[in-house]
Symmetry: C2
Subunit: 201 residues, 2 copies
DNA sequence: CCAGATATGTAGTGTTCACTACAGATGTGG
DNA sequence: CCACATCTGTAGTGAACACTACATATCTGG
């Protein structure tokens, strides 16, 4: 009972290429031909390794959120709620206009609305955005407990707000907004968090 | 030279139905079969009237933005920059969760990323979102001239910010956020505009 | 070096897509 | 009532899609 022929491509590297195609064209707009060409493999290799197109997307999303979560750890490590929001939104402004990647955010570009055979793709993306929002909410809950946020502040609402702004910035980035424009948005957005904070020093 | 057989369907009514299909499934996710069924016509009638699928989308967008601009007139008629932002974002929260329409905003759901034959669809949507942003900017320029906004305020950045928040809210609505959740986001968001205002009475 | 197992490349499969040819229906102008 | 113009319904068209059958190649365990 041998172990069979080993695969000739690097799955993670191939995933990075697939990720970029989904990022640029969305789930439905990305074709298997584009994906296989970008990945440098043929369709049978893709299907053997990832099951089907949706499986490939999920694998790409796993990789994307994994890297993103590492960054989010740094974000929520900021000392105050205001600093968290600033670090998050300024970082988003930079990342979404990084020329190394397509503009915007994969969790939005991947597919907000889909056709009748792919209804769970938007659902899948939304679930991963919600994870992000939960991390923010937990951090803001702590900020409130620490007296960093006002007693009247609603941590869940604040987290939803920051999440909404970052999504909106992503859409703007994908339609051509440059880094400076996004930073200005982030700068204004942070002031709402500041308004909910206690120490405005 | 006769005038030919008159069309048997109401073009505006048919457009409303097509709009809803694009709104729910996006440009690429919407099929001609779904569109014609919703519109109550057959493909040749669609093509005779709107040219092709993209022409139909543009016609639907024209109708959408026309109705939206009427509403935007009411929004910018609010007395202060803060009131404009509040009226806009609270209205967005309500409209994007109106059960009479699909959730979210057609200018986002229509297609943020598209495949290789439809690159100008996202561009088209972005152009219409930019119109909206311009209306806000003009209003905020006026607010600054009237001393309603601080001297340090950047009307263009504020308009971009409000626009970004509304887009983010739209994405959230399409992924299940209810009206109350969106109103909370709007409430927080308005505070950033308030922070740029002079009279905080 | 052989048997079993898995990967690869070529070359398709059936299905669905946007779009249309065509014939018949329904109007207007003379 | 006739010539002409436009609409409508039926029934497709070729192209592109996600996906796969199959023969071949390359590994491991014995």
């Amino acid at each position: 009972m041998g172990m069979g022929r080993p695969r000739e491509f690097d799955a993670e590297l191939a995933l990075d290429q697939a990720m970029e195609v989904f990022w640029r064209h969305g789930y439905e707009g990305a074709t298997i031909a584009q994906l296989t060409e970008a990945m440098g493999i043929n369709p049978p290799s893709l299907y053997a390794c990832f099951g089907n197109k949706e499986g490939l997307l999920k694998a790409a999303l796993d990789r994307y959120t994994k890297l993103r979560n590492i960054w989010m750890e740094e974000v929520v490590a900021a000392p105050t709620a205001r600093a968290v929001a600033e670090r998050m939104l300024m970082g988003i402004a930079d990342k979404q206009t990084d020329p190394a990647n397509p503009p915007g955010c994969l969790l939005v570009q991947g597919g907000i609305a889909c056709g009748s055979g792919s209804e769970n793709v938007p659902f899948e993306l939304a679930a991963r955005r919600a994870q992000n929002e939960d991390q923010l909410r937990d951090r803001f809950v702590r900020a409130k407990a620490e007296g960093d946020l006002k007693e009247s502040a609603d941590p869940a609402a604040l987290a939803r707000y920051v999440s909404a702004v970052s999504v909106g910035m992503g859409v703007m980035a994908s339609s051509g907004a440059d880094r400076e424009a996004l930073r200005q948005v982030a700068d204004v957005a942070v002031q709402a968090v500041e308004a909910q904070s206690t120490d405005k020093t």
